[in-house]
Subunit: 563 residues, 2 copies
């Protein structure tokens, strides 16, 4: 039953009533000023100033998506799953619409012309920012928004699907979803290719430019990287490492096996030491945190809100949660070190892609985090924390032996530092063949087993040990795997340069002093955002472009005790 008098209050409509027209909404504009950060400062090119405003909004939406994504894995109740997927894909659609608005296209053209005509008015950061804006536009301009929405939604759905099929060891159930992901990413890659005019010829790659579908997926994760470059580095390294692995295993047979961890390591204590180690390496807890999840570890966020998410600790083995923490911690330092004051939300302030990200993670987790000096620092503190003074499993030498034990295994996540590369190599070959249509999902399990046998000498007994183990393809990360091995190479190359710059680096690690290390990384890498290409960066820091040789040297030193 209705109350007419109140409804006349609500419904202000008489026969002749008209709604008021809306007020005009002016677009935000930038202004000039002496201490204004570059991100907010007006530029002589009006078109570029307008682009900065637009990309600032895109960056904000990206930051919001990051926050929703972390929350998804931690505090969000299960029943909110579907609506959260809807919110995230909705934001992606909006971001996409913003990026490919006609005015972006027009402003980019105008700004590019201005840069060409008045180069003196463009410093290197503005040039780089404009270049990154252009690259983002090209990434999206021919990809239909619904494809991107689908990609976003399926990436979160994929996490859940993967958890289910892995637990159920059900390859058949996985195939349909994976096929959908493969088809979607081939469509996205194809759309990106059509946005890129050919320098000449056709798509076969014979004109020197790689126009394979896999190339377009690879470069989304690793800007500036090519499939040919991956092949060059991988071929070179594989020839060497395949000789070294037998030598390492032989040598290892002659030493005492390490003492396995025993007893109970309370999850709260693990959480404490993990947070403490993050503080030691320089992670800023006022701008980030360590959280636990039932899902796989992940990190993400913005420089002010960097959230590292690791799996809930297993009380039988503290090295697992510590490994994840160190790995995510390396990522976290990078994110926190990005140029947030001057370039927050602008494309140039992004990290340099998956390879450089993984280089930071692996530098901390594998290179530094497995040094004898690191364990010498850690061990006495563990003796106190876990109340086991003199416990054989907690001794520095034993921890070192545990973490440098080489054991070919079917499980990539638990691979040792030496055979780590092989796991990546196998996945690189297989995912490239899947995307290029040279391999079907029906044939994948056999192809997987065949390559595992060839490169690692082990064979999975179940799909869970085989092609179901990784979440990457389920969340749509094709062209990502190479980043781990390339990042490992880059980490070793960087560490070599650090050793040259601080000859006493080992004694610093021994004393738990990371400030010089983290400052060096921040100044030389993190604070550069996307200013220059990774090879220019490496040339500046190490004297040469990316090479597999420093990693080989590192492996030989650590695992064959060669100098």
């Amino acid at each position: 039953m209705r109350i007419a008098s109140f409804f006349s209050f609500w419904r202000l409509r008489a026969a002749a009533h008209r709604l008021p027209e809306p007020a005009h909404v002016p677009r935000p504009v930038l202004s000039s000023g002496p201490d204004m950060p570059k991100q907010d400062a007006r530029h002589p090119s009006e078109a570029y100033s307008r682009l900065k405003v637009r990309f600032r909004d895109v960056g904000r939406m990206s930051g919001v998506i990051e926050a929703l994504g972390r929350d998804f894995l931690t505090a969000m109740p299960e029943g909110a799953y579907k609506s959260r997927l809807g919110q995230i894909s909705f934001l992606f659609r909006r971001m996409h619409e913003d990026l490919i608005d006609k005015s972006v296209y027009e402003d980019l053209e105008e700004a590019i012309n201005h840069e060409t005509s008045f180069p003196g008015q463009w410093d290197e950061w503005d040039r780089a920012n404009l270049r990154e804006m252009e690259a983002l536009y090209l990434q999206f301009c021919h990809v239909a928004p619904e494809l991107w929405e689908k990609k976003a939604s399926m990436s979160y759905e994929g996490r859940r699907v993967h958890r289910e099929v892995l637990a159920a060891n059900d390859w058949e159930a996985a195939k349909d979803f994976l096929q959908e992901q493969i088809d979607l990413h081939k469509a996205i890659a194809s759309a990106r290719r059509s946005a890129r005019p050919r320098s000449s010829g056709n798509d076969s790659g014979h004109d020197g430019e790689d126009r394979s579908l896999y190339q377009y997926l690879l470069e989304e994760h690793m800007p500036g990287m090519t499939v040919a470059e991956v092949e060059r580095l991988f071929d070179g390294y594989e020839k060497e490492i395949e000789q070294i692995i037998p030598a390492v295993l032989e040598r290892q047979k002659k030493s005492q096996p390490p003492v396995p961890l025993r007893g109970h390591f309370a999850p709260e204590a693990q959480l404490w030491i993990n947070k403490a180690l993050l503080k030691v390496i320089g992670f800023d807890f006022s701008r980030g945190g360590l959280y636990e999840t039932g899902h796989n570890p992940v990190e993400g966020g913005t420089p002010d809100d960097t959230r590292l998410v690791i799996k809930t600790a297993d009380s039988r083995n503290f090295l697992d949660s510590m490994k994840s923490t160190l790995h995510e911690g390396g990522h976290g330092l990078y994110i926190q070190g990005l140029p947030r004051k001057e370039w927050r939300y602008q494309p140039v302030a992004a990290d340099l892609g998956a390879m450089v990200q993984e280089s930071q993670a692996l530098l901390v987790e594998m290179i530094i985090g497995r040094m004898p000096e690191f364990f010498a620092f850690l061990s006495p503190r563990l003796e106190g924390l876990f109340q086991g003074i003199g416990d054989p499993d907690l001794q520095a030498g034993n921890l070192y032996a545990l973490k440098t034990h080489v054991q070919p295994t079917v499980d990539r996540k638990n691979a040792d530092e030496v055979t780590y590369f092989q796991h990546v190599l196998v996945r690189f070959y297989l995912e490239r063949d899947l995307i290029e249509g040279r391999l079907t999902l029906d044939d994948l399990p056999d192809a997987w087993a065949e390559k595992m046998q060839k490169y690692i000498g082990v064979v999975p007994k179940t799909p869970a040990e085989g092609c179901l183990q990784d979440v990457h393809w389920f969340v749509g990360k094709f062209g990502y795997f190479p980043a781990y091995a390339l990042g490992h190479m880059m980490a070793a190359q960087i560490y070599q340069a650090m050793e040259r710059d601080f000859p006493d680096i080992r004694s610093q690690v021994l004393r738990g002093r990371f400030d010089q290390i983290s400052t060096w990384l921040r100044e030389k890498i993190h604070s550069q955002g996307r200013l220059i290409h990774y090879n220019a960066l490496l040339k500046d820091i190490t004297g040469e472009e990316l090479s597999w040789k420093p990693l080989l040297t590192h492996i030989q030193r650590r695992y064959l005790k060669l100098s």
Copy 2:
């Protein structure tokens, strides 16, 4: 130093190169189908269908803002404060731009015409939804987006400012910020007024329609409520309650004072009982949760993701965290019960405003949550949880005495159920005078003391005990306070109807059986969203429109033991 070959890869620009134009982005459209929820179903009016798409986006953005707001108070690191403010105000700006787009104005006009011309094609839900869309448009169409952005940003900033000035007892520091909030809200109210054409005459209110600035703020929180109606209800109730308070205090002097809580009540145990009580009243933990914060309690979210946030427990007093839990729990039941399957994200699926929200919170916290039967259910379980069988402070009678003890105090948050009304009355008068310009902030402390003396008989000794105590004005909530007292009246009126419908309600509460109660609330109130005006709802449920009489009867029964 740059690597030219890679830059030619990145910079695809030759002298004659042109960027590809972007692909066309079609707007999403609705479709028809037999089991399609109303929110997604196409309607004979194309304009209304377009509006549903647009408001769905607005609803999603609102859901995202809710998630970011909860995270702000719980998991977010402190250093992300500024950038989170930026993200939230950015989303508000986008939502605002969406709401006042020219096409919304045009589609509303067209849909309204369709409804007038073809009433048979509009069921009551679609009519209500259209009406709510119109109301939202009117709320925003003349408010400049930067005002709304500022409102959003200052609401979060206000939380932090309040915490600081309250801790420092610093009224002078508070005044500037409060003045900014008052000026901002006067500007917003004024803009809203200009969107509403006068029925006749001027803004003085003599034509029967209240066009005071305070009215426009009040109705944002309580749609359909008028200042005159608030005055009518408050005047009627105040005449009675001011006689009753002395009688209650007299009667209380003759009974034993309650035994204060003593000992230690572990925060983890409190968290457990609070979660357990939420489950008892029917809160669904697959679609929500209970979280702790250092800030004031708050609730919010969407029907799938309803987060109740209470202050970290004080181990000396479990009744505080329990009170907050029950209060937020009432809010939470309402949010979870909204019509999410059929009308998710549409305006008609929103709650009926602050008064009705507070009625649900106070029904659980004060009416049901302070019944002798509730304590009889609770007490033995507390004896087990806190390990104190026979402890005098935990006895049902004692808990009842503690929670129904009447004690005039300066502190609204700890006010007893009887003098609760006076606290609201004082704030109603003062905030109205502040907004209408009849009272300045310089004069507020004296005015506050004068009214506290008049209505409650106590006087604050410091600003922290006085006008600094509430967060509401700091976060921009003007026109909200009346909702507490009106909600209390509505809660008592609803409970009266429930007693009529379930004569055995007391024995249900005694046994901890709330399913009949929560089902009744969901069917009669929560699931109705904004279908009908609150007075139509009350008429349906209780037989009469909102009245202060049921609350008076309740107070007399509980505090004077009258029937």
